[in-house]
């Protein structure tokens, strides 16, 4: 009688076993190389960005000693504390004083490469610390963009020579630019800052969160807990799933057509931007919220109902607290996507050149990704580093936001 099934102690069986193990090893190796590849790409991305971005946080500055009081500019502490202090200093000819001092210390050639807006830095330093006006103080003032390029051995040869000479004299150097985090957009890469865009992003995200989170969670709760399962709820479910996959620029068009039609005066405002992004974020929150609510064990609902909790008490005392970590995860994903979104905001005018930080939800503003997009389009060489620096700020903001959400999620996570 012939054996149809080979006994497990045969050579063929051992051979097949070997093959099976080899397949497993190959699969493991493939998985490992995929991980190594993605980690490598990530490291490359982060390091190149950090490397470029670090110089974006610095700027070429010229050291200019100025004795403001001696130059005949009246600067008492009281005057400097007024809101109009900058205009007051301008009227007294601070710009000329700065220019004259620069010619004295740097020579005609060097002074010509001082940024035309350098006197504003002097003014803000004086306002921050009025005692600087009473003696000779060396201010670090922004050089022109051309000289900054020269310092990096780029741009015209004459300026490269000048930059080398000023550097060896010890008056031209790359300094950390705290002002980058305080100023807003400008045409000169030496004078730009990220604060305007950062504040715009924060305001926009607040509007998005305040709109998308409650509406999304309420919609998810209603659909999961109260809505009857019929054709209408099926249609709603399919629509929500489709909405989550709609290209973001379509939401921008919607914002343009609906929100700007309703509020024509709020073009470029974080309010409109936030509302547009909320539309985009809501489906993500609804979908993840429904899944999280579905995952709450029915036994908990039964337990609560059996002691006589009303449906709304079941939802708010038991279902929602247990679903919250999952809902927050969805919210993080949605908000992170909204934070990095550019296209819909272009449609509602948030790509405008905004030189002052927005002072409210209805003031014209731009946001970080749009600012990055705008700077990457600039011709001036100095904007390359500034763009990288802005990307770093965006990523840090993203990390901060996600970190907060993960902290909240872990806080609400229940174990059983």
């Amino acid at each position: 009688m012939s054996n149809i099934i080979t006994p497990t102690r045969s050579d063929e069986f051992a051979k097949r076993l070997k093959k099976r193990y080899a397949a497993e090893r190959r699969f493991k190796l493939a998985g490992l190389s995929a991980i190594v590849f993605s980690v490598g790409v990530l490291i490359f991305l982060l390091s190149s960005m950090t490397f470029n971005g670090i110089s974006g946080f610095q700027r070429a500055e010229l050291a200019v000693p100025i004795n403001v009081a001696e130059a005949g500019i009246a600067t008492n502490a009281e005057q400097l504390s007024l809101g109009s202090a900058v205009q007051g200093l301008q009227a007294q000819g601070l710009a000329d004083v700065v220019q004259f001092a620069a010619v004295q210390s740097l020579g005609e050639e060097g002074a010509a490469e001082l940024s035309t807006q350098a006197w504003r830095d002097v003014a803000s330093d004086l306002i921050a610390n009025p005692s600087l006006a009473q003696r000779s103080h060396t201010f670090n003032l922004p050089a022109s963009a051309d000289l900054a390029a020269g310092l990096n051995n780029e741009g015209s040869p004459e300026l490269q020579v000048l930059a080398d000479r000023l550097e060896s004299d010890g008056v031209l150097s790359e300094n950390f630019d705290f002002g980058f985090l305080q100023r807003s957009d400008a045409t000169d890469p030496q004078l730009v800052g990220i604060w305007g865009a950062l504040k715009g992003s924060i305001l926009t995200m607040i509007v998005t969160l305040l709109m998308a989170f409650p509406i999304g969670v309420l919609a998810a709760l209603y659909l999961e807990e109260y809505a009857p399962k019929n054709r209408w709820t099926d249609v709603i479910e399919v629509s929500i799933n489709n909405l989550a996959a709609v290209p973001s620029i379509i939401f921008g068009l919607l914002g343009l057509a609906v929100f700007l039609w309703l509020f024509p005066n709020f073009r470029s405002a974080p309010l409109i931007g936030g509302m547009t992004l909320a539309l985009m974020t809501m489906p993500v929150i609804v979908i993840s919220g429904r899944n999280a609510i579905k995952a709450v064990p029915p036994s908990i609902r039964d337990g609560a109902l059996a002691v006589g909790a009303s449906p709304i008490q079941v939802v708010f005392h038991h279902v929602l607290p247990l679903a919250l970590p999952g809902i927050l995860t969805g919210t993080i994903i949605g908000m992170a996507r909204a934070l990095g979104e550019t296209a819909p905001l272009l449609m509602i005018g948030m790509r405008a050149f905004v030189a002052t930080p927005p002072d409210g939800f209805t003031a014209p503003a731009t946001v970080l990704p749009v600012q990055i997009f705008l700077w990457s389009d600039e011709i001036d060489r100095g904007f390359v580093e500034r763009t990288s620096a802005a990307i770093i700020v965006l990523l840090l903001f993203l990390l901060l936001m996600n970190g907060l959400a993960i902290y909240l999620r872990n806080k609400f996570e229940k174990t059983w």
Binding site: S299, I300, D302, G303, L305, A306, V307, G308, S310, K414
Partner: protein, 262 residues
């Protein structure tokens, strides 16, 4: 039709079901069951899997309302009041008819909050002292006080399975119900924990009307004074537990308790 054992003297019923049928969509899960549930005894529902005993139990405090396709016909009364009319508030009904489930399902909250939840939502205990008292009394009645009194703030889910089930019983009695329904309360527990629950049921009977669904005939014999045998959605036989187990009238009951099927 149902055979009522001749030895059974029908006393005043706490709950009375008359010709109750339950449908899931079009499928009939319970077929015209009529039963009187006495207030002073433990009533056991026995029968093979899928015979509808749990379904019937869940109609007694309208837990079937949560299943959209379920439909109940017939009359179920609690102290003579129809529980399926709009005059009977379902929240109030469930406060009067508590339930303990097959799998222990404590809330993922502290032991204290598990017990205090019911009294709090019903406003039965206003002050902190009142709630403390209700918690202690309920835990004592459930025989859990000595084991957990030093860790009331710990999560209820950190207890062992048997302790969790006793916590659920304590949670049910914290709102001072009139009837407690138990749906196979020991099926997920080991023999020692089971013995403790059975002891507890004996302690609680008399104070509350208890209805227990069980797979185990021995358990029914041990804890109950009345037994109803269900088969294929029908109640086959109902009578004193001793009569059902020693002197069944129906052939199907006889076959089931002697282990021919089930």
């Amino acid at each position: 039709m149902t055979v009522i054992h001749p030895n059974l003297k029908q006393t005043d019923a706490k709950m009375r079901a008359s010709e109750v049928s339950v449908y899931y969509s079009d499928k009939k899960a319970i077929d015209e069951v009529s039963i009187d549930i006495p207030s002073e005894y433990v009533t056991a529902f026995i029968g093979p899997s899928g015979c509808g005993k749990s379904t019937f139990l869940r109609t007694l405090n309208r837990m079937n309302d949560t299943i959209p396709t379920a439909r109940v016909e017939g009359l179920i009364e609690l102290d003579g009041e129809d529980i399926y009319t709009s005059a009977m508030d379902v929240v109030q009904l469930r406060a009067r008819v508590g339930m303990v489930f097959q799998k222990p399902n404590p809330f993922p909250k502290s032991i204290y909050d598990n017990i205090a939840y019911g009294p709090r939502i019903h406003g039965l205990a206003e002050t902190k002292d009142d709630v403390d008292e209700v918690v202690e009394r309920s835990l004592r009645r459930a025989g859990l006080w000595e084991e957990v009194k030093d860790r009331l703030a710990d999560s209820g889910t950190a207890l062992s399975g048997g302790q969790q089930q006793r916590l659920c019983i304590a949670r049910a009695i914290a709102v001072d119900p009139e009837v407690i329904l138990m749906d196979e309360p020991c099926s997920a527990l080991d023999p020692i924990a089971t013995a403790k629950i059975e002891e507890l049921i004996a302690d609680l009977s008399g104070r509350y009307a208890i209805v227990i669904v069980t797979h185990s005939m021995q358990q029914a014999a041990r804890v109950s004074q009345r037994t109803a045998f269900f088969h294929l959605g029908k109640m086959v036989e109902y009578g004193k537990t001793s009569d059902i187990f020693t002197n069944p009238i129906e052939q199907r009951t006889q076959d089931y308790i002697t282990g021919r099927y089930g």
